[in-house]
C-alpha cells in the first residue's frame, strides 16, 4: 500500500503488481527515491481525473527516469477511484506522472496495440481517502503559465510512502 499525504488529507493506494508488474515497480522506485514528496496535483478536471507527480509547487517540472512499457492491456479498467499512468502521445512514454480517475473513463481503456488504441495503464486503486480525492477534484482551477486546469491554490503531495 502507498500512503499519499496531501494538504487535503491522506489517500491510500493499493497497487496491483500481478496485473501491472513493470508499472508498479516503476511507481515504487519513484516513491522510494522520494520523487513524489513535495509535488503537486497540477491538472485537476472535476469530472475526469486529478493528475500529479511531475511538478513542484512553482510548476517546475521534475526530471524523470526512463519511460516504461505500457501495460494497459492487462484488463484493468479506468473506473472511478483507479490509478493510472499519464504519458505523452507515445504509448510507451509513462515516467512519473499518474492520475486518479474521478469518474468512469472507459475511453481511456486499452483497445488495440496501436496508436490511440493503447489507452492508459491502470495499476492500482484508492482504498482509503476517496473523499480526499473528491475534495481535490472540486478545487478552483485556472491557467498558470501555459498550463490549463491548474489548481489556483497548490494541492501538494507532502509525502508518498510505502506502508
Amino acid at each position: 500500500m502507498i500512503k499519499l499525504t496531501t494538504n487535503h488529507g491522506v489517500i491510500t493506494l493499493e497497487l496491483n503488481a500481478e496485473k501491472a508488474p513493470k508499472t508498479v515497480a516503476n511507481f515504487l522506485a519513484y516513491v522510494e527515491a522520494g520523487h513524489y514528496d513535495n509535488t503537486i496535483f497540477h491538472r485537476v478536471i472535476k469530472n475526469f481525473m486529478i493528475q500529479g507527480g511531475g511538478f513542484e509547487p512553482n510548476m517546475n517540472q521534475k526530471p524523470c527516469s526512463a519511460p516504461i512499457e505500457n501495460e494497459a492491456a492487462n484488463g484493468l479498467k479506468n473506473k472511478r477511484g483507479t490509478v493510472a499512468m499519464a504519458r505523452t502521445n507515445d504509448p510507451h512514454s509513462a515516467t512519473a506522472q499518474f492520475f486518479i480517475n474521478t469518474v468512469d473513463n472507459d475511453f481511456l481503456d486499452f483497445k488495440s496495440p496501436s496508436g490511440q488504441g493503447w489507452g492508459y495503464c491502470v495499476f492500482g486503486e484508492v482504498v482509503e481517502g476517496l473523499d480526499v480525492v473528491d475534495k481535490i477534484r472540486a478545487v478552483k482551477t485556472g491557467n498558470k503559465g501555459f498550463h490549463q486546469d491548474v489548481p489556483v491554490e497548490d494541492v501538494i503531495i507532502e509525502k508518498a510512502e510505502i506502508v
Binding site: R87, T88, A94
Partner: protein, 244 residues
C-alpha cells in the same frame, strides 16, 4: 522576451517533434514578443505551392501565434532553403536574410543558420553553392508539383538512409572564418544552428570576448529553445506533456 530555435527538421515522419512544436507555438512561445527560427524548420521544402495537410497544419499554427501577437522571424536552412514569400505571408512570418544583425536596445546579436561557415567540407560547400543559387532555385521551383513531391520524398528517404549508414557527423564551423565573421559583425553575440552540437563557445577576437551559442536540434521526445530575457541567454528544454 525573445526565443530562438532551429533545426526542428519537421516532417510527417516526425510526429513527436511536430507535436512539441505545435504545443510550443500554442503555449510557451506566446509568452514571448518574438520568435526567431534560425533555419531547418522543415526537413525538406520543395515549394510554397505544395499544400498538403501536414504543411497546412503547421502554417495555421504559425498564423495563429502570429495573430495572437508573436512576431515570427524565419531564416532559411540548408534543408528548407526553398521557403518563399508565399509561405511567409500565409504563416504570418517574416523571412530574414542570413546573416541577420539583431540589434536590441540592451544587446547586439548576429543570427545565422551556420552552414555558410562550414567551409572544411568541399562536398557540402559545392552543394550549398548550387542550391543557394537563385537561378537553380527558380528552375527547381518551376518543375511540376508531382515531380517536386517525389523529390521531397526522395530527399527524406536519402537523408534517413545517410543518417543510418554513415552515423552522420556534421562538419563544424571553420575557426578562422568564424573569427572573421564575428569581426565583420561588430563582435556581437553569435547565435546559430545547423551543426546539431548544442554548446556555448567563447571566442577571443582582437582581444574581445564574444560568446557563440549553438542551438540544439529537436528530437521526437525533446526540443530546446534559447531564451533572451533582456539580460541573459538561457536554454530551456521542451518536453512532451503527460496526459491521459
Amino acid at each position: 522576451m525573445i526565443l530562438f530555435i532551429s533545426d526542428l527538421h519537421l516532417s510527417p515522419r516526425s510526429p513527436g517533434a511536430t507535436a512539441l512544436f505545435l504545443r510550443f507555438l500554442a503555449g510557451r512561445a506566446r509568452q514571448a514578443e518574438a520568435l526567431y527560427i534560425l533555419g531547418d524548420l522543415f526537413e525538406v521544402w520543395v515549394g510554397d505551392d505544395i499544400d498538403d495537410a501536414y504543411h497546412t497544419a503547421i502554417i495555421s499554427a504559425l498564423r495563429a501565434a502570429s495573430d495572437a501577437g508573436l512576431k515570427i522571424h524565419l531564416m532559411h536552412g540548408n534543408r528548407d532553403f526553398a521557403l518563399g514569400e508565399r509561405f511567409a505571408a500565409a504563416a504570418g512570418a517574416r523571412l530574414l536574410p542570413d546573416p541577420f544583425d539583431l540589434v536590441l536596445p540592451e544587446w547586439s546579436f548576429v543570427l545565422s543558420h551556420g552552414d555558410a561557415l562550414c567551409l572544411d567540407d568541399p562536398d557540402y560547400t559545392a552543394y550549398r553553392a548550387k542550391v543557394r543559387n537563385p537561378a537553380w532555385l527558380q528552375k527547381m521551383l518551376a518543375r511540376p508539383r508531382f515531380f517536386r513531391r517525389q523529390l521531397g520524398r526522395y530527399i527524406r528517404w536519402r537523408s534517413r538512409r545517410r543518417k543510418r549508414d554513415l552515423n552522420l557527423v556534421y562538419t563544424d564551423l571553420q575557426p578562422a572564418a568564424t573569427d572573421d565573421f564575428i569581426r565583420d559583425h561588430g563582435y556581437a553575440t553569435f547565435i546559430h544552428g545547423h551543426t546539431h552540437r548544442a554548446a556555448t563557445h567563447d571566442h577571443m577576437v582582437d582581444g574581445i570576448h564574444v560568446e557563440r551559442w549553438v542551438l540544439a536540434d529537436w528530437h521526437e521526445d525533446r526540443g530546446e529553445c534559447l531564451v533572451w530575457d533582456g539580460e541573459a541567454l538561457k536554454r530551456e528544454a521542451l518536453v512532451p506533456e503527460n496526459r491521459p
